[in-house]
């Protein structure tokens, strides 16, 4: 039932199972096997409609054994849509067509690529030269060559016009199918398309992914990211309406946070920042500045301001202004047991409490709803942290 393609790719064929319950059941027994551990899993599904929650639980099952769900092959349109919305690559996996291995790239390199921006286009390259591909059979070697040359082309074209690489997911799938049809003919041109598209898929998905990479083992975080794609959850904080703020808020923003020095990749690692613990109630008019992470054991009253280069964690009610990542760290987060902040700023993003939440004071009860704010697609989104 299962086939082992190479060291890291592991295909689980559940194509004959027709109900979600049975899939989960079969999958959990498959995942118990030793060879499934620490692999990139390709999931072959039949004509079963899976919703977000079901796909999510599958994903967390796979994550539970230190593997990642890299691709999903499904006959159902519904499942396909769900997988796309969750940022899982959908493709038709088959043992014969080894080019399909390419999509299963580690996310980390993609993240590096994103972090380093356009300067490190070279890295995009090294992703394509994935050792996995080299290790696989002869057919693969041919493709690898193709990919290399393609990579060159792509580098030049991408640097000229990066917008081109942003293709919608639908298009990508279309071309994928083409590739499969032409795979036997070793058509270089089509493969070229394929490689670009693979990058595209990852670019599409890494909007969701970038956040998870650092804490991949944390299933809860994964859940949060996926919930983040749900607009209902993410609308707790509204982005500033440009119509209401005629006075060039954008210009202000660039002035609020101007990273004075160029940060290298290492500097962005939050662990590099020291952490300051403050055990008191921060009252109106009090300002706390720290070039690192701040942890406050207590409440932050309205009118207080907390500015940190790293994360801000409030073990209490946050009602003042919190500015995390003041040095330009886009990955900084703001966490609070109860999020009621009048304004949230992360790096150069800014959001304010919606007017509908115009409560005079927030009740100090023992029931807390822990929340975390972070940047998703250049917007500050507040996620609920469930238990």
């Amino acid at each position: 039932m299962e086939q082992n393609l190479n060291n890291s790719l592991y295909i689980i064929d559940l194509g004959e199972i027709n109900t979600a319950q049975e899939i989960i059941f079969q999958l959990s027994s498959d995942l118990d096997k030793e060879e499934a551990k620490n692999k990139r899993i390709c999931l072959k599904l039949g004509n079963v409609d899976l919703n977000q929650a079901q796909l999510l639980s599958i994903k967390s099952l796979i994550n539970g054994i230190d593997s990642t769900l890299s691709t999903v092959d499904t006959k159902s349109v519904e499942t396909e849509k769900t997988a796309i919305s969750l940022g899982i690559i959908v493709s038709n996996v088959s043992a014969e067509n080894s080019t399909e291995v390419v999509p299963a790239m580690p996310y980390k390199s993609v993240e590096d690529l994103k972090e380093n921006g356009s300067q490190n286009e070279e890295e995009k390259y090294s992703i394509v030269e994935d050792p996995d591909i080299v290790e696989s059979d002869n057919e693969n070697n041919v493709t690898e060559e193709n990919i290399q040359t393609v990579g060159n082309d792509q580098y030049s074209s991408a640097s000229e016009n990066t917008n081109e690489t942003y293709v919608s997911v639908d298009e990508v799938q279309h071309t994928d199918e083409e590739t499969i049809q032409n795979a036997e003919g070793q058509n270089v041109e089509v493969k070229e398309e394929n490689v670009i598209n693979v990058d595209t898929i990852i670019k599409e998905t890494d909007n969701f992914k970038t956040e998870t990479v650092s804490e991949k083992d944390d299933v809860q975080d994964e859940l949060d990211v996926i919930f983040g794609s749900n607009p209902v959850q993410s609308s707790i904080f509204e982005m500033k309406d440009t119509e209401e703020q005629k006075y060039e808020e954008r210009e202000e923003l660039s002035e609020i946070v101007v990273p004075e020095q160029e940060y290298t990749k290492e500097d962005f690692e939050l662990e590099a920042f020291p952490t300051k613990y403050i055990k008191q109630t921060i009252r109106s008019g009090q300002v706390i500045n720290y070039e690192g992470n701040i942890v406050i054991i207590g409440d932050c009253h309205p009118g207080s301001e907390i500015t940190a280069f790293g994360d801000i964690t409030v073990w209490g009610i946050l009602s003042g202004i919190a500015h995390a990542g003041a040095g330009g760290n886009q990955k900084a987060r703001v966490r609070a047991l109860k999020m009621n902040a009048i304004q949230l700023r992360i790096a150069n993003c800014y959001s304010r409490r919606p007017d509908s939440l115009n409560t005079v004071y927030i009740e100090k009860t023992n029931s807390f709803t822990p929340e975390e704010a972070r940047i998703v697609n250049n917007e500050i989104v507040v996620f609920k942290i469930n238990d």
Binding site: E244, K246, Q286, N358
Partner: protein, 272 residues
Amino acid sequence: MAGRVIVITSGKGGVGKTTTSANIGTALAKHGHSVVLIDTDIGLRNLDLLLGLENRIVYTLVDVVEERCKLKQALVKDKKNPNLCLLAAAQTRDKTSVSAEQLKKITERLKKDFDFILVDCPAGIEQGFQTAIAGASEAIVVTTPEMSAVRDADRIIGLLEAADGVESYKLLINRVRPNMIKSNDMMSVEDVENILSCQKIGIIPEDTGIITSTNRGEPIVNNEKSLAGRAYMNVARRITGDDVPFLDIDEPKDIVGKLKKFFSGLGKQGKE
């Protein structure tokens, strides 16, 4: 035409300077004038709360003075009235952050773009007060019919007369309770006027709606039914030069009182 700079001051705290500023500002904006409200109560700002603009403040008066941003950037536009802008005070600083000359410069610049510049003055007669009145040519002295507030208002009027820029000042009597005046428990409006020998620009009745409106962050002038709201609306019209008769604040609010008034009116008519 250059805008008018009006400072709203009182000396004593808690008599309703900020409420008056917010409401007169909103009322003037409702009449179609372009208005900017400046909160000079640095460190204890409240004007933004009353207008419900707290979550929109990014830059403050201190940022403008210290040239961290442009003046235009610090102006927060009102949610409902595009004519109304707020220049908020910094919460994390103190009164020494802005000097009289600096505020005067700012009001001079705002005069070009706005019809009215209302300056909300902090309580007291120290530096904050001196800063607030620096750019103003007119003043509204807010007081309540209490001896302490009237004494402080008297002191303030003396300081205003001594100040260079302020050419005229008017009295606004806040939190008037007609019932208490009737039973001789409160100074009447006329008494206050006589003590201070100053012309009044408005009488605002005590209204519980003020508390609700403050908590909601919406000035009471937006509520047409409120007596205090209408009184503030009239003050705004008097500022623009209209001759508006003073509101009959004796109006009973409960149904029984209304009926009583109605019947007593009928009785009088019958006798005549």
